[in-house]
Symmetry: C2
């Protein structure tokens, strides 16, 4: 990443996207998955940004993944025609009505993980072309059914009048050191078992969707048909520490000003309201300073990041602008109204975070 | 808190403020501090909301505290005339120009914690009526100088042509079980020592500002002149678990729909993008379900909260709307564009989070 210009140009704290690195990340994922015969349906909850969605689609994405009806509305309104809401949407009331409007405007897939949820979806979506994917728990133990239970949910969905297109899972237990390849194996096993369970009941599962940035390199093309990585467009401190990217692949940072120093401690003006507060137990801190990888962010409050430098290491001066990779870039982007876009160290644009806060 | 109406009325997830409880919290703080002779300058970073600021001022607040120049701009534009930016603002470039405009429009106080920072402030604010408070580290070890160093910074500020109005501290080390009264003692000791250090140099410190929601009950009126609590207007799961409020004082919750259940596990549609991801080591989970205090939120992802219920406890049904107190309400509010306002269980209004994302 080329350092961007200093404090006179950027009102810190702000998020800065290096578009050259972003484009490289998008192209690399598209190429790697094309070579393995896997469709890419990027998760847009990471960037929430129309300009980035367009770049992913241009690079060959089959459509977008989103987490909420509201995110789907933002991207549909901008002309994206193929969307998967990878969530067991509870389609009651107003949410059901909004879902139906979406299905009339775009090719829509929605997740389901219960017979009750399928009935609600049928109430909202019957007669539209919307398709349903059954969510499978492959080891993350959040939403999703066990593979053996997939057929029951799929049959209920089909009997309620909706088309079941297949199965999906999120191998979120791959977010940990040395867990990535194991989680990818779990993902393939669970999707395969679930697809077979559907087939035994006379249902097909042409879509077997998995993937996440840490596990996608190990996604099994013998089972999966598509992957849904999100973070890869930017990468972040978590992915760097997990080893699923190198630090030179980090395309989004927060520009932060040093406001206070004492001894080997430096305080920056980017806190949890800019970086997000996500911090898994294995993370070494609350984000990483890309130009000072030896430093650790040992404390984060709303408007302060406290970084400790090794004894004797040169410290940035008060007033200096430094680059911080957030731990979890999806959380950081969702805090910002816009991202400053740089190319070769120059600010060239500002992109709105169009679906910021689109949680409903 | 009176439960609000169900899923047909509220598009979950969303933040809901019980205005009756909010008004009770505002009045109780105003009355308690008035009885002890302490001015209240509430921290508006908690609510970022004009309607709530107005209620605090009507209840007798001497002005508002804010964390950033951008927050000050939002409240000044709405007519708030007395603001303290309790932060060692680095007043370079555009930020310096914005600060000067603020000082010309409102009674403005700004924090400082270094001689270099004082020089920058002087460049931006000389000739305005702005006042400066020296930030003191009373034990939180973030920004601020040691009490003995306060005179040096104050003298540099005064020599640069700015008026020093006193000293302030944030006893953030009081955010922990059994640490509140000790942190309040540290706060008073540090402010007293710093004020004396200024007086030895011929400077006065008429303002001695401290306080935070967990420590304000123990704020020492023999030393302090004002307190800056923020969270108290809403309270949150952290304050409940610290014992600085009771659960019936929690005025803001996220309304969340149960989307998935399995065994004693319930998954809600309010995740870290609604509740925020703050979770100190002593917290028992990632927020609390106010109607199910025995349950614990054991995992939080962007759009899922996973709650475990005790064996045999009745679970809410899929589709049911439950109330979740965020761990740290300041983080939750900053994720929302608006808050749904209820009174006696009825939705009566929606308040914009006017200063959401105002970080610069």
């Amino acid at each position: 990443m080329t350092p961007f210009r200093g404090p006179e140009e950027l009102d810190t704290p702000c998020l800065v996207v290096d578009v050259d690195l972003l484009d490289r990340n998008v192209a690399a994922m598209a190429e790697a998955m094309r070579a393995r015969g896997l469709a890419v349906r990027p998760h847009a909850k990471t960037h929430k940004c129309l300009q980035i969605a367009q770049r992913q689609i241009t690079a060959g994405a089959t459509g977008l993944t989103v987490a909420t009806v509201a995110e789907a509305e933002v991207f549909t309104a901008a002309g994206v025609s193929d969307l998967f809401i990878a969530y067991p949407v509870w389609a009651s009331g107003e949410r059901g009505r909004r879902l139906r409007i979406l299905a009339e405007r775009a090719s829509l897939r929605v997740g389901v993980d219960s017979i009750e949820g399928a009935a609600m979806l049928a109430g909202a979506l019957s007669g539209t072309g919307a398709q349903v994917l059954v969510e499978i728990d492959s080891g993350h133990h959040r939403t999703g059914v066990r593979p053996a239970e997939a057929a029951g949910v799929a049959l209920a969905t089909a009997r309620a009048g909706l088309r079941v297109a297949g199965v999906f899972t999120f191998p979120g237990h791959g977010y940990g050191p040395d867990r990535r390849s194991r989680a990818a194996m779990d993902e393939a096993t669970a999707l395969d078992q679930a697809a077979q369970a559907l087939e035994r009941e006379g249902l097909e599962a042409p879509v077997r969707s998995g993937g996440s940035t840490p596990t996608v390199a190990n996604a099994d093309p013998g089972v999966l048909t598509e992957v849904r990585p999100g973070v890869y467009v930017f990468n972040d401190a978590q992915q760097g520490e997990l080893g699923s990217c190198s630090w030179s692949d980090v395309a989004l940072t927060a520009a932060a000003t040093v406001v206070s120093t004492r001894g080997s401690q430096v305080v920056l003006d980017a806190g949890s309201k800019v970086l997000g507060a996500d911090q898994p137990g294995w993370a070494t801190g609350s984000g990483r300073l890309l130009d000072h990888l030896d430093a650790r962010i040992v404390a984060l409050s709303e408007h302060h990041a406290t970084a400790l430098f090794p004894d004797g290491a040169p410290l940035p001066d008060r007033g200096e602008v430094v680059r911080v990779a957030p731990n979890h870039v999806c959380a950081a982007v969702n805090l910002a109204d816009e991202m400053v876009v740089v190319s070769a160290g120059e600010v060239i644009d500002r992109w709105p975070v169009a679906a910021r806060g689109a949680n409903t």
